[in-house]
Amino acid sequence: MDRRDLFKILGVGLMVGADGLAEDEHPASNTLPLDLAGYRPRFFSVQEYEALKQLCDLIMPSDDASPGASEAGVPVYIDSLLFYSKPDFQQLWHAGLEQVQAVAHTRFDQPFHECHTEEQEQIVKDMAANEEDPQTPLQTFFRPLKDLTLTGYCLSDAGMRQYLGYRGDRAVKDFPGCTHPQHKA
């Protein structure tokens, strides 16, 4: 597709702002670049935030195809969301992380983020033990933690592109649909 076709697709109204547009990008408005590397937590304490990062990575670890949750920016997403959230939602997360820290102290005598990986894995395993029907405050925190980790990961650039392989936001001229003969007969 050449530039002129793209402008035809995107419409005259957007031509003005679309100067310098790469061939397959959409123009966006009202966006702020998020500084993932330089982010400082606004809702969690530094210690809580460190624990959150490690919890997110245990749930959504890195593998050959895509990075883990914290490298993708999920803790930034969660901390930002909570910073702007209503008090009851904030309270749920504060209480949840407090539970994690309390359990780490009781069992391993140090905060979660200073535990060994095997110790952290034991705690997360306990958290996830009754996912459908949580029995303890620690277990109750697992579902919200996991849900927001998954949501945040899939909305991150790395999650979208590398994990899901998503490029659906490209401007395409024709929609090919299914091209596999085996799905058609």
């Binding site: 697709i9 957007l14 408005s29 909305l155 991150s156 899901l164 392989g165 490029r167």
Partner: protein, 544 residues
Amino acid sequence: MPSSICDVCVVGSGPGGGISAYALTKAGLKVTLVEAGPRLRPGIDYNAHGSPYAHLEARLKLGHIDPVPSVFADRRERNHFTAVGDRPDHGFLKVLGGRSLCWAGHSLRFGPLDFRDWPISYEEIAPYYSRAERLMEVYGDADGLWNMPDGVFQRGVPLRCGEQVLKLGVERLKRKGRVMEFVAQRKAIPTDSERARRTVCHYCGHCMRGCEVDAKYTSVNTPIALALRTGNLTLLTGSTMTRILMDRSGDKIAGIEYTDEQGNSGKVMAGALVLACNSIETPRHLLFNKASNFPNGLANESGQVGRNLTSHFGLTVTGFFPELVNRDASDDDGTDYYHGLLTALYWDKAHPGFAGTYQVQCGSGLNPHRLGIRNVPGYGAAWKRRVRELNVAHASMNMQGSLLSSPEKFVDLDENRRDRFGVPLPRIHLRYEDNDIAMADDMIQTCEDIIRISGGEVQYSPGKATRDNLQIDYNHWVGTVRMGRDPKTSVLNADGQSHQIPNLFVGDASVFTTYPEKNPTLTNVALSWRMSEKLVEKSRRGEV
């Protein structure tokens, strides 16, 4: 109080009001279009393009949780009605263009069967369907189905893998004697650069969030734009109708009173009034505006205003197809989630266990904003792989059945709750009945059968329908100001004109006499266009 005079005042600028303003101004009438909301600019006031994380901070600051902008989620009315019974809801968007800014574009003609109990036939409305499809720029395939007739289409948009696999399953079920069809969707989105008058679709899938390049049909980008070009349209945005005014005889409408955003009131005096406020708000205003000659509310001698409320309802079943696990789903947004449609169920022969028909919208889009499958137990590396596999290889079936119309479903006024203009809020009464449950159970069974015979596993199913798990389609309400031949059982005649008040017309989907399984907007536009032309003819003959 400022007062203006026009030939026709149209209240509401959604699919019905927009087309009415166009048809009336094109015929040379002076029209004032009154809309409670503001005008939004596509690409500027709404634009979901770009990385979600780049939207995050700005959106959180405004109080939105979803980092991807959506006109509907961000601006829908809340707390504007009282819910009674089985969790009714109402999707109401106060902006110029109304819900036409964020609809999926699904444009399916009702067929001859669907008009059986209406005062007009399919043949009478067919020419308006053709005109509507041309103006709205509907894409689709010619499928040759007798009760969902083909229309004037731009080039169709093909099925994705998941939808294609479901279609194969339907073919297998048909060979076993089941009567149904699986076709590609028809939507009001231009696809053909040679024919398109709006921007051609570029398949980003933001249709329901608001099309930022204005490809998808809205009242604003087509009929209101054309109406403004005639020079006959006065547009009052940010103006809420507060009263309907009667003339000195008390038999006819003289105009309306409105209040603008600054709190200033004004009047629009008009030869005729077209209400196109939606199926909840139009009966609300008719019931509230009691007058000496109309003690039960305007046009309500029959007591039918607010009655015959119906919508679509259903449940969702999701399938997982192992053969699709390794497919490349990178460009699969298309024209939003649903590209497939299961239809032609119970047209030829009614189901013995329930009255009515349903269709199933089928989708397998892979958009990170809308994961098809989320609730996968576990965590860690294996879970991460599994969530990806399930999403790439899923297809979802969203059932859409016609809710049985009954005395248990209606709209009236909540005299205890009023808006800031003193108008009582509407109450929506919904109670699912045995017929609704029986239909939903059949929908669930049919969807599970299709998934299994397609080689898939049922990944999620409600199993059995109950009053507690049924979902109402809060965007599809119709029927509350229905058309009919008999003034005792209907509010409007076949032309959308009140049986009682000759200069009162209705242009929204509340006029539907009965409701098939198909989406309402195309029929709303076609009917409102026809109503508006009848209004012009009648006004020339002095009959309004």
